[in-house]
Symmetry: C2
Subunit: 226 residues, 2 copies
DNA sequence: AAAATTATTTAGGCATTCCTAATTTTTTGC
DNA sequence: GCAAAAAATTAGGAATGCCTAAATAATTTT
């Protein structure tokens, strides 16, 4: 079926997937900004991805793109490569978690299935990457998740940090300096519905005030059952 | 100086280097055949590589190409990546020596200097790759070598197998089945100057007859001093 | 609801790297 | 040394994936 997808196409699919996954819209401008290309280039590529065989996206003018089943599988394959690579770079080559993104972005397009399997095995088939993001399975299924944005918690609620939305090194270092790393326990002391600022306590640190630039980057899982 | 070289250019430079290194000519047709492109494409690329700033090759019509200093440095960088990667794939990921070439050919163009340094360190800064080829140093110097073709030995001479010219899996498996792997000791019992066939003995195996298709793939180092 | 703003698409181009076909140059064999 | 064969080059073109500028569609403001 899919002969071979170019690096560029893989990047488009991956970006459409991640934009859509966190409840967003894969609009022309959102894609253009994430991919660092002009909006006109995105339009052209979406038209192409919708018209090839098999179609990889569903595209209607002025309404952005959705992945088809084939497109989603291709996206999950790239995402699996990316997240396994990030994990591998941290675990086996000693990279810091804020430095792996760029390297993984280049490697993800060129590793073989054999390479993927070998690192997955060596890592013990991890479920999450260093930023806490779920790694699609080798059968290209994205495991279920019920994490929510830290900013959605109300005052008094506690939760465990699960994953970071951003892969940006500066953002990640800021989160780390606040103790906001996967696995950390966080309590929201105050959530100002008004301006979106929170007062949080991470583990047994001093409480700190954070704004949405921080709290909208952190996904947590509340400790109660379903 | 060198902003960024495309994968395609890196492949041309690497191929010119290796063709030239073993005493060959980097002719248009040799390059075309090695790179899997039409001769006309090679001519076009060589003209381009000779006219960019800084020039990466010296090119005169109908005389093939030679690397400039800048071109050689770029070639050694790619070659270092390739050979370190091959070593890493074998040592750290359990690949067999005849399976690493394709993977390294794709990875060599995308790994960072950081990645290069990390695997070099983890491997203990190896001097040779799994096929016995010398790995350029981090300062982009190719270590000296005085290996010669197995086919150049005369009857009665002994030597140690140093490296294989080919990276082709089938060829490598054939050599391995004869015991011709780096480090193996080989004695030439007979070298027929007439048809180029040899009779050799590897370690304490049974003597076997080989033809130039084999003996021209194997470089050895004679055990006497300089 | 019309005007202004923003988002998106269309149109036309450019760089890269490959191709085939035709031509020219070099090498080979007699 | 000359004709045939082989090698290399030129010419013209295609696919990718990006760009800018202009046109159109959608959304927001007033």
């Amino acid at each position: 079926m899919n002969e071979h997808l170019t690096t560029s196409i893989q990047d488009y699919l991956k970006t459409i997937y991640t934009l859509t996954a966190d409840g967003g819209e894969a609009s022309t401008s959102a894609l253009a900004s994430r991919l660092g290309v002009a909006p006109a280039s995105v339009t052209g590529m979406l038209q192409k991805l919708a018209s090839i065989e098999p179609p990889l996206v569903i595209y209607r003018k002025h309404q952005g793109a959705t992945l088809t089943r084939a497109g989603e599988r291709a996206a999950l394959e790239v995402l699996r490569h990316h997240r396994l690579l990030e994990t591998y770079l941290v675990e086996s080559l000693g990279y810091s978690w804020d430095a792996v993104h760029e390297e993984a972005c280049r490697l993800e397009h060129v590793i073989s299935e054999d390479f993927e399997q070998r690192i997955a095995e060596q890592l013990g088939h991890p479920e999450r990457d260093p930023h806490g993001s779920l790694i699609p399975t080798s059968t290209l299924v994205m495991p279920p998740s019920n994490d929510v944005l830290l900013s959605s918690l109300r005052g008094g609620e506690s939760a465990v940090v699960r994953r970071m939305r951003s892969e940006d090194a500066i953002t990640l270092r800021r989160l780390e300096s606040l103790g906001l790393v996967p696995g950390a326990e966080v309590t929201v002391l105050v959530n100002s519905q008004f301006d979106g600022n929170l007062t949080i306590q991470v583990a047994s640190r001093q409480p700190v005030a954070i704004d949405p630039a921080v709290s909208d980057q952190v996904f947590v899982e509340t400790t109660e059952g379903t």
